[in-house]
Assembly symmetry: C2
């Protein structure tokens, strides 16, 4: 028998990791609920026809296909594991549109699967935490998503920058430099600015067919700096001839305005919102705002992203449904909190008390007292075997159980337990009532 | 474009269903934690070598296999979706045994997948909620699992019978009737007693190769009745020649004794434990106690099951690890609670208040007040569009939001909102402070 293993890119989560992951999910979920988002769940497997062609050619290759064991090997499998939560959500809206009231605000926290090459921080099974508002073009939704991001990271104690862009601004710029059909090429190049530097980006733009003049006109955009408002003014001046560009500037101004009115406080060291034109993610389907969040104190990719899409459900035959959404990457957030040691110590739910019985009568009393304490809401264990004291206390130590209630023949006679503090080693005798009060107090 | 659909046997869960499912998961999980079980999670996909051959020939056919899109169609897929939580748990123990302290008490609440023919109440994706104690043969663990079952169903308000059997008793009976090698045949036949009746069962036993004498000796067992103790005495008398049988009777007596000592109360109308020899589930791997729970007031199969297995991890090269576990079937429990209307009304987390703004200034005030209320922990929405009042209030109605705070030009002047009770239709003007106090009080 070979040693068992798990598929590459997947992970087991022990008690502590699961508690910490739940802490992240619960934090995100509580904030979603503050804003009225409703939780839904969709199946892990979708029809292949639902998934194929939605993530580009590269994405199609990363889909996991599912086959019944009964099916013949060569037969085309018709099901696949979901690749994200967005396409299943679009499918959900189309299938359930008669039951839904729009605007529809939903959140969803479930795993997704991608046959990516596994590497540090990239897994084949990982969780997404998505919130989307569907059926309204209101920029109030964008503003609320910014607030949600701010509140989630405030609660998690993580300092972040939220970057915002708008596809319409990018389109306006493409028009301004005389290359309206080259928006994607421009943004792909812009996206590399951080990594490869200005010179290489300019070279790449030429290779992608932009004229020297277009590249020249683009330079002020690539060099953009200052406050959000200073940047917006520069862009506004440059793109004044483009209706789309003007609309983009106006949208971002409105969102900033709503956000500032609502929160009534300046950005601070822990959270800031920055206009960033190099942000060009998801251009295949974002049509307005584009969001991305980066941790300030950890070198890691984007930990949250999203944007507005005007035709999400069009692929399933329901056109003209606008939506805007945000997706938190729980695994990367986990890595950040872990690196910075930001998990609260109480994120793991521990047993409060272990009964250690030295004989059969003692065991019966331990079980009875344990049951009474549990009825009062305490988390209590009874060591199930009549093992040596050392072994029983070792179990308490290994499981971080703070107190052990020892019952031997003396304690049977005096109707007490000897309560041992597993950290300090202190011991004292306690009656049931004293024990119940003590455990309640030390919860 | 065809109308989108989901794979047969799978389901979407809307807001209300998700809330109700979470209510079940949270109830089960809280009770598991009271007894010190620690949560772990394993990946949805396992190596096919981990899964194959663990569920019998029939089970192998029900495995879903997973293929990367990149892999060639005819290539043997090496991964599969987990079929239950037990085999992945056994694999987990073997892989992580160096990090674990035994006895190890874990719980796990995750979906499993089976390519079963879908039918009412049987799905291809469904959740299991498992708790197991590994690394001890103590019958205290059996007793605790009974208590856990009792407490979970007490909290859910569902009246149940917990049936208990012991494989050793079945083995003793097989010896007594002179057919020690026919235990599986006997139990399969006994299992059908309820469905096909005594006559058919006796016929089937003969067909399976039991002599007329063996079948005759089995009759008192098939006719067993009375209290648990009366049944145990009958069995004890019949199987006195069998060491295994005697051990089985002793084990069940001990478990009943521990359970009765612990709970210090007789079984009642809501919960009872019954010795039931026709209970023969999972004999392929159970070696001691066997559990099954049935709802008293709903006609549905087993809603919880489990038992002791003495060699779970042996299949992965780690012999002699005894364990006992229980598995709650969340989907059937859902159906029971739903049929009996037992979900608490507050199981769905709803928005408490909707702001309905009549203009742009009003919207800005609504956002600002909403944000302050959220900072105080209230779940508040702002209708994102400047739609007609009727539409905005219709949204509150459809989403069961109990109060709407309307802001028009009058309310702007007086620095108030008009708070409307969406059920009674009552309205009254409120300042921010009044509103904050009111919402807090009506949480």
């Amino acid at each position: 028998m070979n040693k068992p293993s798990i598929p590459k890119g997947t992970r087991d989560f022990g008690h502590e990791e699961t508690s910490r992951r739940n802490y992240i999910f619960n934090t995100i979920q509580s904030v979603f609920r503050l804003y009225g988002f409703q939780q839904i769940e969709t199946p892990a497997m979708e029809q292949m026809s639902t998934l194929m062609g939605k993530y580009g050619e590269e994405g199609d290759k990363l889909l996991f296909r599912i086959q019944n064991s009964g099916e013949k090997a060569g037969e085309m499998p018709e099901k696949g594991l979901r690749y994200d939560l967005t396409v299943p959500f679009a499918r959900y809206i189309v299938m359930h549109r008669q039951e839904l009231t729009f605007p529809f605000k939903r959140f969803q926290i479930q795993p997704v699967w991608r046959a990516d090459r596994p590497q540090k921080g990239r897994y084949r099974e990982f969780y997404q935490c998505d919130a989307d508002v569907i059926g309204t073009q209101s920029l109030v939704s964008e503003s609320e998503l910014i607030e949600i991001v701010k509140e989630v990271y405030r609660r998690l104690g993580l300092r972040v920058v939220m970057k915002i862009n708008n596809r319409k601004i990018l389109a306006g710029i493409a028009e301004y430099i005389g290359a309206p059909d080259k928006m994607t090429d421009i943004t792909v190049a812009i996206d590399k600015l951080d990594k490869t530097g200005l010179e290489k980006v300019n070279e790449e733009l030429m290779e992608r067919g932009l004229s020297a003049e277009s590249v020249a006109r683009l330079q002020p955009i690539l060099a953009l700096s200052g406050t959000n408002e200073e940047k917006l003014q520069t862009i506004e001046n440059l793109t004044r001839e483009s209706e789309t560009g003007k609309k983009g500037v106006e949208e971002i101004r409105t969102v900033f305005g709503l956000y500032n009115t609502t929160t009534r406080e300046a950005d601070n060291d822990s959270f800031s919102v920055e206009l960033d034109l190099t942000l060009a993610r998801g251009l295949n389907y974002y049509t307005g705002a584009i969001f991305e969040v980066k941790a300030k104190d950890v070198q890691i990719g984007s930990i949250t992203g999203g944007g507005r899409y005007d035709n999400l459900t069009g692929i399933f035959g329901l056109p003209d449904v606008s939506g805007v959404g945000i997706s938190f990457g729980a695994d990367r957030i986990y890595d950040c909190l872990s690196t910075l040691d930001l998990f609260p110590s109480e994120s793991a739910v521990q047993t409060q008390l272990l009964f250690a019985a030295m004989g059969e009568d003692e065991m019966r009393r331990a079980l009875s007292w344990a049951n009474k304490l549990r009825n009062a809401g305490n988390r209590v264990e009874v060591y199930p075997d009549l093992a040596k004291m050392k072994k029983q206390l070792g179990y308490a130590d290994a499981n971080h159980i703070p107190y052990a209630a020892i019952i031997g023949s003396d304690e049977m006679t005096s109707q007490t337990v000897t309560l041992k503090n597993m950290v300090t080693g202190e011991q004292r005798a306690m009656s049931y009532d004293e024990l119940a009060t003590f455990i309640k107090k030390n919860e």
